[in-house]
């Protein structure tokens, strides 16, 4: 059996451009490939993928395979599974990486079982074990209360990676790499599920996954009215407003704002946590933030163990003067 070699990234094109997590995968893939002394390649599917392929090369890929077919424009389990399986059997990579995205959550498990190859989901760290050359895959478990280090017994070693857990390379347009078009030979009859419609939930302002600054409120806010102040602060800082699960369950905020194990994962530069205790389920969604600032009346709240800065006190007294001072500073 020929030997598995190289690292293969399954890329995603969202709203006509390369998904942020795909760039992050390329960054991480590049490091792993270099440690193995092997090549980094990527796969892009859909229509009009060529411009994205060259961008992927600028972000570190040695080679990009593209599969063009209108049927691949939107993600469909069976067709994507068939296409990716064909590519993986052809390229025989040592490592396959995907984003922990709605596509990744659906495709990676099927691929793993289809190829009887282990997949580790939602990894936050990847490294090569220098003695064995095997991929060390670190992922959070028990709602973030613990972390586990795994290796796979099978080849290829597959993983989905949590967005914002890795960092992309600097864009380098002078990088060289080849783009290879592959005929997808789609068999439409394989398609057992049919996408009828895609419904967008209008979200005012910046999406919480993309915001550099987030202002998140917890149960302590006490009601929907309290969130108006958070909106003011977020507006000032050109950020977005997030919520914990109890807040969403009580109907004070839409589900699209929910951050945590069962909500979205964010890793902003600044995360302002207001009147939330910082349960491990919530931290599973925001522990990637570069800096956390906590405002809570309970000095023992878990959030203070995660924050770099904090005030102990009632948020109703703290927020108004905080907003005023921020407005003042931004004027300068």
């Amino acid at each position: 059996m020929t030997e598995h070699k190289g690292v293969l990234i399954i890329g995603e094109i969202i709203e006509e451009n390369l998904a942020a997590v795909t760039l992050e995968l390329l960054g991480c893939g590049r490091t792993l490939a270099d440690k193995l002394g092997e090549r980094l390649s990527g796969l892009l599917m859909g229509s009009d993928t060529r411009p994205h392929a060259s961008k992927a090369i600028a972000y570190g890929a040695d080679k990009i395979y593209i599969m063009e077919d209108p049927l691949l424009e939107d993600y469909q389990s069976d067709l994507y599974l068939a296409a990716v399986e064909k590519m993986v059997r052809r390229v025989m990579p040592k490592i396959v990486l995907m984003g922990q995205t709605p596509m990744g959550r659906d495709l990676a498990p099927r691929l793993g079982f289809r190829m009887h190859a282990a997949v580790l989901m939602d990894c936050v760290e990847l490294d090569i074990d220098t003695q064995t050359g095997r991929l060390l895959q670190v992922r959070p478990v028990y709602g973030g209360n613990a972390r586990a280090v795994f290796t796979s017994e099978t080849r290829p070693q597959m993983a989905t990676v949590r967005s914002k857990a890795m960092s992309p390379l600097e864009r380098n347009s002078s990088r060289k790499g080849d783009i290879i078009e592959i005929k997808p030979e789609i068999d439409p009859s394989a398609m057992r599920t049919k996408l009828l419609e895609k419904v967008k939930e209008e979200v005012a302002g910046i999406k919480i996954e993309d915001a550099a600054i987030l202002v998140t409120g917890g149960r302590g806010i006490g009601g929907p009215e309290g969130f108006e102040q958070l909106e003011d602060l977020a507006g000032l800082l050109k950020g977005a407003v997030g919520a914990t699960r109890p807040v969403v369950d009580s109907g004070w905020c839409p589900t699209s704002r929910q951050i945590g194990l069962t909500g979205k994962v964010v890793a902003p530069d600044l995360y302002i946590a207001v009147a939330l205790s910082g349960s491990s389920q919530h931290m599973a969604g925001c522990s990637g933030a570069k800096h956390i600032v906590a405002i809570n009346s309970d000095p023992q709240a878990n959030i203070f163990r995660e924050a770099s800065f904090g005030i102990v006190g009632d948020w109703k007294k703290a927020l108004p003067s905080f907003i005023e001072k921020v407005r003042e500073l931004l004027k300068e």
């Binding site: 006490g222 309970d298 000095p299 023992q300």
Partner: protein, 380 residues
């Protein structure tokens, strides 16, 4: 060993779902809002309680109830007490059902009990009068027969949850003679009847207790529950059986307050250390724990005796005495441990303090039951 004081599988399932219900349907914010009303329970919340099957928990299946033993009802009441969930639940689903079951005749059971199980009727007992007494000689309200009907006149005081109840069970005197027990009848009076005036007794700690004035209130003959002139025994049977369930509610309340104090002893830092490290604070919390545990186990034994048809009077007087005192003292001590913030209306301890005072005298205060216990221990 027969001895096994663990909950059964079903009781554990019932406890867990009741606590889930409290988290979902009656968190602190909801309880705070309910305490500000005269009704203590919204229609929506009452329908959810009925949907759970709880309104008919002890009503036999023959009357569309769920037919659970009193101990299971105790597990439920304990969970509701952890809120504490205000409103008519205990007074209608427990005391009301028991009065109909103990005093009512078969037709009345077939008519009223299904209504209670389906939540269509909500009852409350109007027994005590201005000269506050739980004894038969305290019943002065009169009921005069008038060609097939009865006309009621008198004043009932400290009737709980009268605004939410659809019907009052009124104890009235249909005959005067030497033995005060003889001549008392029970009437099911529609709360919208003419001649009734219902006013809430004002006061932060009065809870939702009411004065009911009956002025020439005419009710049909069929409103008479059970036999004329000897409704007192059935009423006492019902009260005795419902007391440990009221105590279970107080046990749930006491335990909730203990847990709030314990949590506070860990998070509140003074003099550089969590206050739970100071022995004076520890002593108070130990006393709270002892109160709650004394109330819990006297209540469970009383319920067990009732469910296994063992003589239970001694246990019932004991647990009412201990539980009413426990709930009162646990709240008082909690205010000492927490002080300041616990006095705000939003703080859960204040919900329990109000409930512990509002329910203190209900079905007999500790001194009343202490006296009855004394009569058992030292035969006169």
């Amino acid at each position: 060993m027969y001895l096994n004081l663990d909950l059964s599988e079903s009781e554990k399932m019932l406890k867990r779902t009741a606590l889930d219900f409290m988290r979902r349907e009656a968190p602190n914010e909801t309880i705070k809002a309910l305490l500000e009303t005269e009704i203590g329970c919204t229609d929506d919340l009452w329908h959810k309680i009925v949907e759970m099957g709880w309104a008919g928990i002890i009503i036999p299946e023959a009357y569309q109830g769920e037919g659970f033993p009193l101990t299971s009802a105790g597990v439920l009441l304990e969970a509701l007490g952890s809120g504490p969930l205000p409103g008519p639940y205990f007074f209608s689903a427990i005391l009301g059902s028991l009065i109909v079951m103990e005093a009512g005749i078969e037709e009345q059971k077939q008519e009223i009990l299904p209504n209670l199980a389906e939540g269509k009727q909500i009852l409350t007992l109007a027994l005590t009068e201005p000269e506050y007494s739980w004894e038969s000689d305290g019943v002065r309200t009169k009921a005069v027969e008038d060609n097939g009907d009865f006309v009621l006149d008198g004043v009932k005081l400290f009737t709980p949850e009268a605004k939410t109840a659809t019907h009052f069970i009124v104890a009235a005197r249909t005959r005067n003679n030497a033995d005060p027990v003889d001549g008392i009848s029970l009437f099911l009076v529609d709360s919208r009847s003419d001649g009734l005036s219902v006013n809430r007794i004002p006061g932060f700690l009065s809870g939702r207790s009411f004065e009911i004035k009956l002025n020439n209130v005419r009710v049909p003959g069929t409103a008479l529950i059970g036999e004329k002139d000897n409704g007192w025994d059935g009423l006492q049977q019902a009260i005795t059986k419902s007391i440990p369930l009221l105590c279970a509610y107080k046990v749930g309340g006491s335990q909730a307050v203990v847990e709030i104090a314990l949590e506070y002893s860990r998070s509140r830092v003074q003099f550089g250390r969590p206050i739970g490290r100071f022995q004076r604070v520890q002593d108070m919390i130990i006393e709270m724990v002892n109160h709650a545990d004394a109330a819990r186990w006297t209540t469970y034994e009383a319920l067990w005796k009732l469910d296994t048809e063992r003589p239970a009077a001694e246990s019932i007087y004991l647990t009412k005495m201990i539980s009413s005192t426990a709930y009162w003292e646990v709240c008082t001590l909690a205010h000492q441990v927490i002080s300041g913030v616990s006095y705000s209306e939003e703080h859960a301890v204040s919900f329990h303090t109000r409930a512990s005072r509002y329910l203190f005298h209900l079905l007999g205060d500790p001194a009343y039951h202490r006296h009855k216990l004394g009569q058992l221990l030292v035969p006169q």
